[in-house]
Amino acid sequence: MTESSQTTESSFRQTPLTQWHIARGARLAEFAGYQMPIQYSSIVPEHLATRTGAGLFDISHMARLRLEGPRSGLLLDHLLTRRVTDLQVGQVRYSLMCNAEGGILDDVLVSYLESPSGQQYHLLVVNAGNHAKISKWLQPHLADYPDVACHDVTASTAMIALQGPKAVEIIQRLFPENPGRMPRLKYYRATVALQMGKPAIVSRTGYTGEDGFEIIVRAEDAVRVWENLLMAGREFGIEPVGLGARDTLRLEAGMPLYGHELSEQIDPITAGLSFAVNFKDRSFIGDEALLAKSQQKPLVQRVGLKLTGRRAAREGATVLDTDNREIGQVTSGTFSPTLQTPIAMAYISAEMAKVGTAVVVDIRGSKADAEIVALPFYKANAQ
């Protein structure tokens, strides 16, 4: 057995909550250049707390870019696979950023918000691992739109996800002067609010398949808000949740993760994200390549796999048909804490991608029977 080394001091970047995680005894590891909590207790109890009560996640490593100026929407429209200019204040949209070949540079959330002073702006939330790449990608486009300013607010803010069936009851306690406000916030809506007199951006979004919220606060307010949420959630069984369970939760929810299901070698059509590509009456970087893709039959497709036995198929495992022919590869896999069975996502030949097809997964030389199943693996009751 080999054990991963554990350090509490390192040259990696910290979030405004890293010292809290260390004090709490979390197991930390480097992720996208940040020192992040992998688990506080362990993955399974943190995962189940999120499914049954609430989980609290430090996602401050995600990059936050604020685009201001009258043409910020037009600029983003040119860069993103979905229209942005039609967003109403308070709307959030999932989209992809592609290169000219249609390869996925990142998957992002765009919110259209209004500051307390009445200024409207777009907030782009980018994967931590793509922070530098996307900042660089934006540069020449920003130069074409001199009236648009891009402020990287990642370091000056923190981002906290509150996820789970009890999230709505917990968050309202943080806004006692208007407890009905956050429960009224609809799915994929966001609002700028004052929390204890300090600015907070609250959106009804998440990456777990549960109801929940993502909250952006100033870095100096992060620990207070985090602890207030833990306190408010105590009676609902809230737990701080590390990146380990964040991964098992998103996998059960069938959500792709950049670097696994998504990359510059994969286009949104192949990834099963056609809903996030809009061609009508607009042009954007990669549109021609993607239009061509969308008119062809795809060669490979992203699918869900349910395996027999207890061994998980991990990234890179080969998927075979029942005649032992290679048909694809696993991109993420784990033992599902909710379903108590191994699950995986994979790219496989389109003709083999039909739900119900029996396949075989080669797990380090031993074969496990598997079945192609519909995504997501898990769906929350009330959403």
Binding site: M1, E3, S4, S42, I43, G244, A312, R314, T334
Partner: protein, 129 residues
């Protein structure tokens, strides 16, 4: 088995010598510390009876929700018993890693030794560092 009388791999497997039916056997398991580090165990792949194991070489693997870790044999010889029921009782392994948590029993090859492994004090020191 009393952990103080066992020998240890740096990779957290333990081995203890005992006598069964007048035969000396080496009992192999993984340490409490390892189980605490791994967390959320879901599966264990163990060799079959009769398989040869070699000191320092992989003889199986243990899988948690998070990852798969190889198991390295602390001893050279032939597997004479396998704790196959353990696969369904991985939760119980944590409570009793040194007795009911044994993984395999090995009939040591002629000339094989465990004297080169860490003793309890040295292993404790490694875990504390």
């Amino acid at each position: 088995m009393n952990p103080e009388n066992l020998k240890y791999n740096e990779s957290h497997e333990w081995v203890g010598l005992t006598s069964e039916n007048g035969q000396q056997v080496a009992v192999v398991g993984i340490t409490d510390f390892a189980i605490q580090q791994l967390t959320d165990l879901v599966y264990m792949e163990l060799p079959k009876i009769g398989a040869q194991v070699v000191q320092g070489q992989q003889f199986g693997e243990v899988e948690s929700v998070k990852a798969v870790s190889p198991l390295y044999s602390p001893v050279t010889g032939k597997v004479v018993a396998v704790h196959s029921e353990l696969a369904d009782q991985l939760e119980g392994l944590a409570s009793d890693p040194y007795d009911n948590g044994w993984l395999i029993k090995v009939e040591m090859a002629a000339g094989a030794t465990i004297d080169n492994l860490l003793d309890y004090a040295a292993y404790q020191k490694q875990c504390a560092s």
